[in-house]
Amino acid sequence: MKKLSMHEALNLALREELKRDNKVVLLGEEIGKYNGVHYVTRGLYAEFGKDRVIDTPISEESFVGVGVGMALLGFRPVVEMMRMDFSLRAMDQIYNHMAKLRYMSGGHLSVPMVLRGPEGPGPNPGLTAQHGQQLTTLFAHCPGLRVVTPSTQYDAKGMLKAAIRSDDPVVFLEPGPLNNKQGDVGEDDYVVPLDQAEVKREGSDITLIGYGASVALCLQAARELEHDGVSAEVVDMRSIRPLDMRPALESIKKTNHALVVEYAWQSYGPGAEIVARLMAEGFWDLEAPVERVSGQEVPLPYAANLEELSKPQMDEIVGKAKQSLAQ
């Protein structure tokens, strides 16, 4: 184990996979010579050259399509969105081609590619409305895609490696707020499975459910609740599509209470699906309704105070957890 930032962990995963398999190629804006705006591809152009690390024009729709085309011929493209916000430009390629070609062709074709990039309000503040969105739901709704998001540096490396090796197209969502944060990363060639949620902290009174950047909020809330004698279990969903409900369902068997925490906008956000699945599969274990603490449903505002208020608030998380337990 060594301490690395999230972007260093991702960088390591890319480097190892580029070395392991010469079918792996990277595509994206400013990822090569410029070394990547969020540092994830730093040094890879120098090491692997311009045929493996390909700088693209500002043509998101079409360089995703280029990735699809390369994948059809057996390459394993890893396509970076400088920010996932810009994938709105590429939604047709993502939904209608990357995700569906395998099915539409009756299995004749497959598209083993990864679309990755940072989402949400970070690493730095002030990203504003078009650069700091968390659009997880848009991908998660689409059949044919795997959608995953790590919450730790360790998972980031192992999941990105698994994503590159996956024969399904994968959308790999990097929590922007964690990009520069450090944590332990394994130095060996390990992978973390793409379809398994994980308990990140054990507890017995209430289950806090998060994914990506919100797992850190859950862990912080758990520590605060501990002061008040509440033992919170934290489940990191990790895999958004397919959604692995098992750890959360097992957890509420024990806790009978749950709260979902996310940066995304609440309405029609990922948390809605988690709650709906708890309803369908965990209803009889629940002693109180499962609520959500989410980002404010507004375009990300610029002013420092408004930006802070737009994020999920710690006192709301702690408050709602206690409120649930009071029921």
């Binding site: 990735g67 390369m70 390629q93 004749h108 599509r241």
Partner: protein, 333 residues
């Protein structure tokens, strides 16, 4: 559209009698296939969309015969039946796809717009206008990284030239020296909209400026002209590893899709004029004039083709539907 005024085929090609007969058989096969397809649509065996290739045969025949499908690939749009036939997919599997049968080329899941056959290097049909352009650039990128000097051929309509992805794909293909041949099949209409009403320059070959790639216009009714251009272009592309843009001028005889009555917006006179330069008619006239085949032989060939295709229709119609369990196959659940 200057080429349109030429009355007959371009000169005397250096094609053998065997090749000429093959071209004729292919064109007749496509024409008859589409007529049978439309019949079966009206009979209810085919649902949804049906985009006929009738009238445009010479474009596919000229280009696809010049390809080497061991190393070359095709990325197509929804008007794909003719091209499927030309790459050698068994017509019964194409009909079976149109009938939604398990033996269909896409297992019955795709339908008319979504035929795929990896084995034939046919990477699909596509229902999104311009959807294949960037994929074709990507296939070219892959081919560039392989030793076989393969080429990717991308077919799309005049309407696709207005999509942003055309611009993006051409730019990247040129920037990266991608061996992709972009063939704009200009049949004068994007659904009911005439080319001059959707494109700011009606000479599409001029609209494709701005990317530093070679461009040319070809008479898509003249199979010799297309074949000549194709051979020359592939040679250039294999040597130079550069993209290329072709505008093939042609005409679709049917409406955009099966429910579209095209004469409503383009008039029967225009239609008649184009039928006067029917690609099969031009080739037939040449073959007769040059005594390669007699009119009787040609009629016999047409009957033979039709007969064979009817058998394929019957075969496909008798094929079973997909297994209900196929519903959730080929997709991560």
């Amino acid at each position: 559209m200057s080429v349109q005024s030429q009355p007959s085929l371009s000169g005397r090609p250096s094609l053998s009698a065997k090749t000429l007969q093959k071209y004729l058989r292919q064109m007749l096969t496509i024409r008859e296939f589409e007529q049978l397809g439309e019949r079966e649509f009206r009979n209810g065996l085919i649902r949804g969309y049906y985009h006929s290739y009738a009238g445009q045969e010479a474009v596919g025949v000229g280009f696809i015969n010049a390809m080497d499908l061991k190393r070359d690939y095709i990325v197509d749009h929804y008007r794909d039946h003719g091209h499927c036939l030309l790459v050698g997919i068994d017509p019964s599997r194409i009909f079976a796809e149109l009938f939604g049968r398990a033996s269909g080329v896409s297992g019955g899941k795709g339908g008319s717009m979504h035929m795929y056959s990896a084995e034939h290097h046919f990477l699909g049909g596509d229902g999104i206008v311009g959807g294949g352009l960037s994929i074709a650039a990507g296939v070219g990128m892959a081919l560039r990284r392989q030793p076989e000097d393969g080429i990717c051929v991308c077919f799309f309509g005049d309407g696709a030239l207005d999509t942003g992805t055309f611009h993006e794909s051409m730019n990247m293909a040129s920037l990266w020296n991608v061996p992709t041949l972009f063939i704009c099949v200009n049949n004068l209409y994007s659904m009911g909209t005439r080319v001059n009403e959707h494109s700011s320059l009606s000479q599409l070959v001029d609209r494709a400026q701005g990317y530093g790639v070679k461009t040319e216009q070809v008479d898509g009714q003249d199979v010799f002209a297309v074949a000549e251009a194709a051979e020359r272009i592939f040679k250039y592309m294999r040597q130079n590893k550069r993209p290329y843009f072709v505008e093939a001028l042609t005409y679709r005889y049917q409406g955009h899709g099966i429910h579209d009555k095209a004469s409503n917006y383009r008039g029967v006179e225009e239609e008649a004029k184009w039928h006067g330069r029917d690609p099969i008619k031009l080739l037939t006239e040449y073959l007769i004039a040059e005594k390669v085949m007699s009119g009787k032989q040609i009629e016999a060939l047409r009957s033979e083709v039709l007969h064979e295709l009817e058998a394929k229709v019957a075969e496909a119609a008798a094929a079973p539907l997909p297994n209900p369990a196929d519903l959730t196959k080929d997709v991560l659940l």
